[in-house]
Symmetry: C2
Subunit: 222 residues, 2 copies
């Protein structure tokens, strides 16, 4: 006969320390999505395994299929959470600035939005593997493609509004949506270059390049 943990506890006469804790479904799902995100950031899609995720979350193997259709289903949720966090933070910040700063010059809002793209919070090498994996998933999964399109358009729209506000106040004619799209592409490209070779540029140089491409059309912002 082998001693189970509870048998040992009983023999000791001590109180049983719970072997696990029960969590509300929502909370447990969130824990697992966060653990899975860390695994994806650390090891890319090759590190996104049942074993690694459960070890990271401190749970047993069976729980993934209990809360998600499959491992791929969990990956979809990781995408949703990551995309929402990154993009929506920009959007919400832009909305907040516009609401709070009524009467302020639109240049301030636009400059803040530009700067936020190069803040360490976003312009960080930690998330390279995460986003490379998610982009591959977007290209493959039609469902994620639709979600990407929606969130991306929302962000581009916010940026275009801020650009148009400045251009309008200065009496300049600017194709705001196109400029917004090019700006986002530049940010992504600079970030990618930096992640693959940190010696090729600094975050400060990237921010300067970001300002330049906007200022070339709407005039100086700083």
């Amino acid at each position: 006969m082998t001693d189970t943990l509870s048998n040992i506890e009983k023999k000791r006469g001590g109180k049983k320390a719970p072997r696990f804790s029960r969590e509300p479904p929502q909370q447990r799902r969130a824990m697992m999505i966060e653990a899975a995100t860390r695994c994806l950031s650390r090891g890319g899609i090759g590190g996104f395994t049942v074993d690694a995720i459960c070890r990271e979350a401190g749970i047993s193997r069976g729980l993934i299929n209990h809360y998600f259709d499959s491992l791929d289903g969990l990956l979809v949720e990781v995408y949703r959470a990551s995309m929402y966090k990154d993009v929506n933070a920009h959007i919400e910040a832009a909305k907040r600035r516009r609401a709070e700063n009524i009467g302020w010059p639109p240049e301030v809002a636009l400059a803040e939005l530009i700067k936020s793209n190069f803040a360490p919070r976003y312009f960080s090498g930690e998330n390279l593997l995460l986003w490379l994996s998610l982009w591959a998933e977007i290209a493959t999964n039609p469902h994620l493609k639709a979600a990407h399109r929606e969130l991306y358009n929302a962000y581009r729209g916010e940026l275009a509004e801020d650009i148009a506000a400045v251009a309008g106040a200065r009496g300049r004619s600017v194709d705001a949506p196109t400029l917004a799209r090019n700006f986002i592409a530049l940010v992504d490209g600079l970030w990618l270059e930096w992640c693959l070779d940190e010696t090729v540029l600094t975050p400060e140089a990237a921010e300067a390049a970001g300002f330049e491409i906007i200022e070339a059309q709407v005039g100086p912002l700083r």
Copy 2:
């Protein structure tokens, strides 16, 4: 007793059709690298398996470990071949133009180099999964990181030379290496956006954006 293929052939009295063909090592390696590249382009790192590659190349499973240290070793070779093909084509074309077009205005060479980035040959959605996978490998594999740095710097140097030539001829003061780096980032970012959502821009719009970021500093090229 089971009939082997050769036994059947003998019974038929017909000539044995060779079950496989022997290839010179160099050629066989090239075949396998090409097949592996197709697998990576099609299915990403998840499609980069021994079975898939051997099926694609029309060979048996044992041959990968015969010609390469491991499957990862083959991936390194796929990177080398892809990177060399894409980047070196630009570099060689730039060198050729400069050699052939001595006495021609440098604007022509620069404009051609810019255009080449958006030609269907390179600006194509087929290779998204290929490059996402390779980028992840660069970030992970120090050996590939060094190779990437070398090839990337070579390309950026060529582009910077062409930019400096135009700026010099026009008496403009331009930070050519920085502009070259920003241009490359913009191209990569636009390509990425296009691959993830083809409705957000056209290759023509991307080319226009590419010209704009250069022309903003060196003046009109078209």
